[in-house]
Subunit: 280 residues, 2 copies
């Protein structure tokens, strides 16, 4: 009997990375993880059919948009078919048998260590120790068993590598969320998608006063509600800008179609990035 | 004879960090560096007069806006008095006497190492090794002299710690720039500021269709040219948004004053972050 066809998700980082958690939310617990070294590698895995889906971070509440992935969306052209948010919560993880009082070093990515400054200030005997990846630091503990060592990573990373959680919620700021997009060549949206439809588009605007105002008019005319707007200078084209806009509605809706026709007519560059329903 | 009063600049990172390079551009070569461990620490140094100025990164062409620093701008309320951009270029740095052929490890912040993937792919004998800071990795080489080791950091870091540059421009993407703001309690803008005036403001908008369109109308009515727009959800207030807008002009200009009056009248939250002339 042929095994049931499984979804696979390419993401950046080791199994147990926050992108992996997003993939589990979007595609269910049976999704096969396809870890990649870089964001570009994630897009290449989807292009070469080494994964049925790709999961990419697009913005974080503390660090802002991941412009590199907007560039990749424009370059590779895969449609956005899903969206979810993951709370970034850091756990102190050690191998079973290690006591909390023995811990002298905690390995993790410096960005994660930096988000746990208060914990390290209150525990001066534990030295924050940079490592290339959050989940990868738990993997390293499991493989090398260094003495007096712990890792700072996700709950999922503890489960995957058999780590023991010594302490939860090490992060200073609890309002730390990352938003992820789901990309796939498949037409079918994920079953987990139950939120109201959203659409993401990119368009160019010249450095003329009112250029963005005119573009906004295409949406305002139809009472379409914008949920995100972001501008970036076009590389190599000083004084020209690319805008990324998310708004409520789907490209199947007539008013959305008319707004996008207006936008395509009046802006020098226009691209629909996708319509999708968020996974709560 | 009393020594001439010097400027001092608080910034995040070790001396030789890219923020330090921005401080040198903005305030001249004689500026005293006040290194801080965190962005919040930079704002606190300015509040407590441990520095005459603060220099903070606000956006990067690959990684987007540093939302954490927008939050700090709102919280601390210091006006923006200057702006500059620094090209992020990575150098392979070793202590004098170390030959290129001996290098087996290159220390740096993982974000910097990740921006030099091509170099490491072409030099598989050199292992990228995570460290807490780019400039800090050169400082560590100078202090500890580990065998066969190099660092990936700025040209300035090589000069400060007596490092030798073995190779320039390790970064994969040459379009890697970071934009910095200069903050100070002083009224006088820096001498280096020669560009055309710009103003940054923040305002709230409710989740009503057309709310942003109406806000944009305040600028469009006066032909004021927007150079950046960014939205972020208000933490703890679902469906409400905060917008950051940069536009050409100064709060000394009458049309700017009128646009900002309109904006203050029609938006639920409004703040002028500052008017400034860029340092080229």
């Amino acid at each position: 009997m042929k095994a049931k066809r499984r979804y696979s998700a390419a993401f950046q980082g080791e199994p147990g990375a926050f992108s992996h958690s997003a993939a589990l939310k979007l595609l269910g617990e049976t999704v096969e993880p396809i870890p990649c070294a870089s964001f570009k590698g994630v897009f290449e895995a989807l292009r070469e059919d080494r994964a049925t889906h790709a999961v990419i971070p697009i913005e974080n509440t503390l660090h802002g948009s991941v412009l590199e992935n907007y560039d990749n969306l424009m370059e590779f052209g895969f449609p956005i078919r899903g969206e979810t948010s993951v709370r970034i919560s850091h756990y102190l993880i050690a191998m079973p048998g290690t006591r909390a009082s023995e811990i002298r070093r905690a390995f993790s990515h410096p960005v994660a260590l930096n988000q746990c400054r208060r914990f390290f200030a209150e525990h001066p005997r534990i030295e924050p120790t940079p490592f290339y990846d959050t989940a990868g630091s738990v993997k390293m503990l499991a493989e090398e068993h260094p003495a007096g060592a712990a890792a700072v990573a996700s709950e999922a990373a503890a489960a995957i590598y058999g780590g023991q959680i010594l302490r939860k919620n090490l992060e200073d700021n609890r309002k730390n969320y990352t938003r992820f997009f789901l990309l796939t060549k498949q037409k079918k949206p994920p079953q987990s998608a139950t939120g109201a439809w959203k659409t993401s588009v990119a368009f160019g605007a010249s450095n003329q006063p009112g250029a963005l105002f005119k573009a906004m008019a295409c949406f305002a005319l139809r009472d379409l509600n914008l949920t995100k707007i972001e501008s970036r200078p076009l590389p190599g084209k000083p004084w020209e800008y690319l805008f990324y806009v998310d708004f409520a509605g789907s490209t199947d809706d007539k008013p959305v179609q008319r707004a996008l026709q207006d936008l395509a007519e009046t802006t020098p560059l226009f691209r629909i990035l996708g319509s999708y329903r968020p996974t709560p």
